[in-house]
């Protein structure tokens, strides 16, 4: 069998998604054996920019003209483009102020008005610019889901990730519900599971790092939290930490 060629790249991000690949210590050697690594500057010199890729894992949000060019390059050069991580899927941590503060203001706060101010626009997810074939959510993504994706691609298909909220995994682990029992600002009911409720399982409310679950009842979550005394402003701030594009009236 031909080895599928693999590209791993990053846009505006913390490199956590790429690091997640390197964190698959037990499987990394097998991965490197089964794929032909064509582009992976973080781990391999002389990346091949001319190649065509069977699979491109691209992390990060799109926030500069350079990012956009890179994204288009990988879209055009790849059979399967995977939005790798929450930033790529939802904009992520860097996009949290998109709705509240204009970009130039943010830039000015860091770089002043000098010439060294980099060109940049509000960080946006891939789907605003190109079509993607699959996504792995999470900030950082789960190793297990990355491995599932790689296995599925080798098998000629894409992984079947579940689409339900964090609460299911949280309950199944028999942990205390922080929303009901501790009146904490837990976003579990509206967030995509797959992390096995990492945070609630350690006693920390879900901060929503995996983005919205399909057809979330956002309006009801909002009501639940308002009832518990959180201000609308605080709730929205928390919800927008990883995803700005919430429809707070959605009940679907």
């Amino acid at each position: 069998m031909n080895k599928p060629s693999l590209a791993i790249a990053g846009l505006t991000a913390c490199s956590g998604c790429q690091l997640t690949l390197l964190n698959c210590e037990g499987e990394l050697q097998e991965i490197l054996e089964r794929f032909q690594v064509a582009y992976f500057p973080m781990g391999q010199s002389d990346p091949d920019r001319q190649a065509r890729y069977d699979l491109a894992l691209v992390e990060g949000a799109v926030s500069t003209p350079g990012d956009l060019a890179t994204l288009f390059h990988f879209r055009n050069a790849s059979r399967l483009l995977v939005a790798f991580g929450t930033c790529a899927l939802f904009g992520g941590i860097a996009a949290q102020h998109n709705r509240t503060t204009p970009r130039p203001k943010l830039l000015e706060a860091v770089y002043g008005n000098g010439e060294s101010r980099p060109e940049s626009f509000p960080p946006a997810p891939f789907k605003n610019f190109v079509s993607v074939d699959a996504g792995i959510t999470g900030c950082p993504p789960e190793k297990g889901e990355l491995l599932q994706l790689l296995g599925a691609v080798l098998a000629g298909t894409l992984p079947a990730f579940p689409h339900y909220p964090v609460c299911l995994e949280c309950r199944s682990r028999e942990t205390l519900c922080l929303l009901l029992e501790r009146n904490q600002l837990c976003l579990g009911p509206v967030i995509q599971a797959g992390c096995n409720a990492r945070c609630p399982a350690t006693g920390i409310p879900c901060e929503g790092c995996r983005g919205p679950v399909a057809e979330a009842n956002v309006a009801q979550e909002l009501e639940l939290l308002l009832e518990r005394g959180f201000s609308r402003e605080e709730i929205e701030r928390r919800m927008s930490r990883f995803t700005v594009e919430w429809d707070y009236g959605q009940r679907r």
Binding site: M42, G43, D46, Y111
Partner: protein, 423 residues
């Protein structure tokens, strides 16, 4: 006519960057290090966020050092609120930082640097050409990560270490498993000393001005900086000694400390601190070897720290196992108050400073993060310049290859370098 030789992108480093050498009549005229990572403007992200959110957000500056960013941010917030944490919490934080250092050094040494020693292009080649060495490195990394994941609840951007305490105390069973894991890798750590003793075939480079924190044994934090032989400077007054500015060609900032060009990281730490751990006799020779060396010895210094972290982690696990079961590390209830706080930590790559101010409602009014890579920025440029001059007239391929290797010696973390935060 002038021409430019470029290394773009810098590979096998974390983040996006490039090096440009401007040649004039075949001679190196100028070297520019451009850290081109897209900025995420963390300062603006933090403005108006509550004290509780600051560490959660700011740890996303960088995945590789997310643990130490998180701990530093927590400490800075706690400092602002004059909060002390329980012994369990302290020990857990120290242990997870050693996990972080193990994982980071193992990654850098075995996946990013080793290909240079073996003259191959990267980790994929290693899997073919040196699978056993790679496997050893990955095993070390795995144990570091196991510590991070078990204690932090998540491998990157840990959740269990929180303001004033812990989500929950690590169970005895888990600690026992960690102890077993650490025991297993101790021999490999010692082997790393031999492996990374080989230095790169460069001409000698400028002697660094080492900068590190004065820390207690197996701790990562301290109240004072040490810069070469200069007397201690208190962390709380870091602004008086650190001067930072932006440079036109790079998204990162450069810094001087007390007017000097500092070098931070493993090499600096080992040159400045003498604190030894029990059981570290086998390290002595290597420790002597890195004294007074230029940045090429950073790899050996990291290997030494790999051993130290494993030894320290073993001690910490034991201490945690024996420590008072009543101390669960449960965080106290916090009432926000106006204040400012600063904390400095030794990240794997060197000194890291977090500093925040809050108003009476606990909302963040000022934030400042100085990362090791910005502290190293000037030293790195100086070294590049020195190397470019020494290699004057060489083939461009040799020149760029050598420059790239030099960059790797510093183990720069570009994504954090450009996310400096200052309000």
């Amino acid at each position: 006519m002038g021409s430019v030789v470029e290394v773009n992108p810098l590979s096998r480093v974390e983040g996006h960057g490039s090096v440009k050498v401007y040649l004039e009549g075949g001679r190196a005229e100028r070297v520019e290090l451009c850290l081109t990572e897209s900025p995420r403007l963390f300062e603006a992200l933090l403005r108006g966020r509550s004290y509780a959110e600051v560490p959660e957000i700011v740890c996303r500056i960088c995945s590789l050092c997310s643990t130490v960013h998180k701990v530093a941010a927590l400490r800075a917030v706690e400092d602002a609120f004059k909060l002390t944490v329980s012994r369990t919490t302290q020990l857990t934080r120290e242990l997870i930082l050693h996990g972080g250092q193990l994982q980071s050094h193992a990654l850098h040494l075995y996946c990013l640097l080793l290909p240079d020693l073996l003259e191959v292009k990267g980790v994929a080649d290693l899997a073919r050409e040196a699978p056993d060495l790679l496997k050893t490195g990955l095993k070390l990394k795995q144990v570091g990560n196991l510590i991070q994941e078990e204690l932090g609840g998540r491998l990157i951007h840990p959740v269990n270490i929180t303001l004033g305490g812990l989500g929950r105390r690590t169970s005895r069973d888990t600690l026992q498993r960690l102890a077993d894991g650490i025991e297993e890798i101790l021999p490999s750590c010692l082997q790393a000393l031999q492996l990374f003793r080989r230095s790169l075939p460069f001409p000698p480079l400028p002697t660094p001005h080492y900068l590190a924190l004065a820390t207690a044994p197996h701790s990562f934090t301290g109240e004072e900086f040490q810069l070469d032989a200069l007397p201690g400077m208190p962390v709380s007054r870091y602004r008086e000694v650190v001067s930072e500015w932006t440079v036109p060609h790079s998204h990162a900032k450069s810094a001087r400390v007390a007017g000097m060009v500092p070098t931070v990281g493993a090499l600096a730490r080992l040159n400045l601190s003498q604190a030894a751990l029990p059981g570290e006799e086998p390290l002595r020779e290597a420790l002597v070897e890195v004294q007074g060396q230029d940045i090429r010895a950073n790899a050996l210094a990291q290997a030494i720290e790999l051993c130290r972290s494993a030894l320290a982690a073993r001690l910490l696990v034991e201490e945690l196992l024996e420590h008072d079961p009543a101390d669960t590390g449960r965080p106290p209830h916090l009432t926000p108050a106006a204040g400012s706080g600063t904390a400095a930590y030794e990240a794997p790559r060197g000194v890291l400073i977090h500093s925040y101010s809050f108003d009476a409602s606990g909302s963040c009014t000022a934030a400042d993060v100085i990362t090791p890579t910005s502290l190293n920025h000037l030293a790195l440029e100086e070294n590049l310049w020195a190397l470019a001059q020494a290699l004057d007239g060489s083939e461009p391929a040799l020149l760029t290859g050598s420059l790239e290797r030099l960059v790797r010696c510093f183990d720069p973390c570009i994504s954090c370098a450009v996310h400096l935060v200052q309000l």
